[in-house]
Subunit: 337 residues, 2 copies
């Protein structure tokens, strides 16, 4: 079967099930965000609305809502408020990422920076983050405030670490894991742990959901990075080869470097060091990806985290909510969006 990864349409069902189940709540999260982003400054309103409407799976918000539900939170408001915060941290990060990566499209929609420029996008990112802190403060739970503010610092650290290692073809796999732990998994684990905090769970339950989230986040990011060498744009909503052209070294390239011969390693070192890579560079690299089954190897490694994530839920009694969170772990690997 070579480099072809089966993108099972059915694998999306866990996500869709979750989204349907929490549809009403998610709608309230969206409304809250919209309401909170109102600003006397018209441009901010326009930009943040555009940015937030350009989609996204709202997966992190769903994780907070569902983790609260799993652990017995029956009321409403705190879960809505904090799911909105988690999503706002993610959105603020994306705004700055798009500036940093000079991205012009996100999920097929023009990015905020490509329409209104980098300068306003930086500031609107700051605005989203500040508003998010305001909502958290209103909620008033100091443990959650502590968790989410330190998460926000971690994300920035992860992004800097990633920048610092740009173009480094011999990046250690462990450094790569450090990077995605900070830039992606930290927010996933904060999202699920926040859910547990909302319902007043005990330490054990909080730790379990934190671990579920972190490992799910790692699996997601590895899959995302792997599919950058595989997925078709129309399925995945992102351009193939984006990381490669930006000089970001991810697990598929690390895999080639681990398995390749001297000549191939040399080639990788050379092209990743360059300021710009050509389409020919990409074709040659794709041939190596194919030769060493680098996408499959990466997804195989992601499976490890999928399993740890799945197993972290063992302490919870069986329930519909637990089942959905469990099936969501395989969504991280087999998804078409």
């Amino acid at each position: 079967m070579g480099s072809v990864i089966p993108l099972k349409k059915s694998a999306n069902s866990a996500y869709l099930e979750l989204k349907n189940m929490l549809g009403v709540k998610l709608q309230k999260v969206e409304s809250l965000i919209e309401q909170k982003l109102k600003s006397d400054v018209d441009l901010i309103k326009k930009m943040s609305e555009h940015h937030l409407k350009s989609g996204g799976k709202r997966l992190r918000a769903l994780l907070t809502l569902e983790s609260a539900k799993l652990t017995g939170y029956k009321e409403e408001i705190r879960d809505i408020n904090l799911a909105a915060c988690v999503e706002l941290i993610h959105s603020a990060t994306l705004l700055h990422d798009d500036v940093i990566d000079e991205s012009s499209l996100r999920r097929g929609v023009k990015t905020t920076n490509s329409i209104w420029g980098n300068q306003s996008s930086i500031l609107v990112g700051d605005y989203l983050l500040s508003r998010c802190f305001e909502i958290m403060v209103q909620d008033g739970d100091l443990e959650i405030l502590q968790l989410l503010s330190s998460t926000s610092a971690k994300i920035a650290q992860g992004e800097v670490l990633q920048l610092q290692h740009k173009g480094e073809a011999d990046l250690l796999e462990e450094t790569y894991i450090d990077i995605i732990n900070l830039k992606t998994a930290a927010l996933f684990s904060a999202a699920t742990k926040t859910g547990a905090c909302i319902s007043g769970s005990n330490e054990k339950e909080k730790k379990a959901l934190e671990s579920y989230g972190r490992n799910l986040g790692l699996a997601f990011q590895i899959a995302d990075d792997a599919l950058d060498y595989y997925a078709k744009e129309k399925f995945f909503g992102k351009e193939i080869g984006k990381d490669f052209y930006e000089g970001k070294v991810t697990l598929p390239l690390i895999t080639i470097f681990q398995k390749g011969n001297e000549e191939e390693k040399e080639f990788l070192m050379e092209i990743m060091k360059k300021n710009k890579r050509t389409e020919d560079d990409f074709s040659e690299t794709l041939a190596l990806i194919f030769k060493y089954k680098a996408v499959e190897t990466s997804l195989k490694k992601a499976e490890y985290f999928v399993n740890v994530s799945y197993d972290a839920l063992a302490i919870f009694p069986d329930s519909e909510d637990k089942r959905i969170l469990q099936s969501l772990t395989s969504f991280s690997l087999n998804r078409s969006f």
Copy 2:
């Protein structure tokens, strides 16, 4: 005397007095910031240290410390922590501002973005802001958390508003005041109000210090903007004409527009609309600034805010601390740095 503003060296004495009086505390603020910015990511440590060491008057931190002192705070720790927060919000803003304005020097020192690039600077700004929230959360006062997070949102809004009106020579004076209220005065007033909150002041005292801070901030920004058409670099530590070349319309230009004839207004509209302005444009503009005494007129208007600021302290009994805060108001107008 034409356009020459007397820069009384003695006017700095209020600031120096304040700095000397709070020297030990300020040192603790600096150490706390340094300690909090430690990161496993080496580059972040290097960049934030460089950025924080490139000076600044630490005026906002001093305002928090002194407001707490004025209202009777006798202990230590909370004032240090929160003065550090106020300074970190300011620093994060400056980092992003330098990227947005493409500045290469700040107070004669190379900016972080000019050494390490825009991308890392955006992220380190996010990191500073997140760390600052962590310190606030540790302090745990929800009123202060609410105040400082909404202030952070206001700063971003002010900066966007400023961007939005770039190149607009017929900017209304009221819009200009709105902008500096958000981008500068909001943090000044939050700094002083925070001091009052720390000492458990009553609403009246909080409001008085908030008003003192806001009006001081307005005066400071107007003076800063006015001196951009006057101050010598070596005195003021900023390049003259910076705002002009960046297309930022501030009170001196607004003044020319208010007083100028049709031809002069037309000239201003034309040159401010351009993407870049030449040195000749600047010379011609300076001639108009001189003709209409625009710097003096601006500083005269700033005096109004200086007085409101001074008078806001009336409710406090006379003391050494009150006297220093009072004299600080004229420092905003007559300073050589």
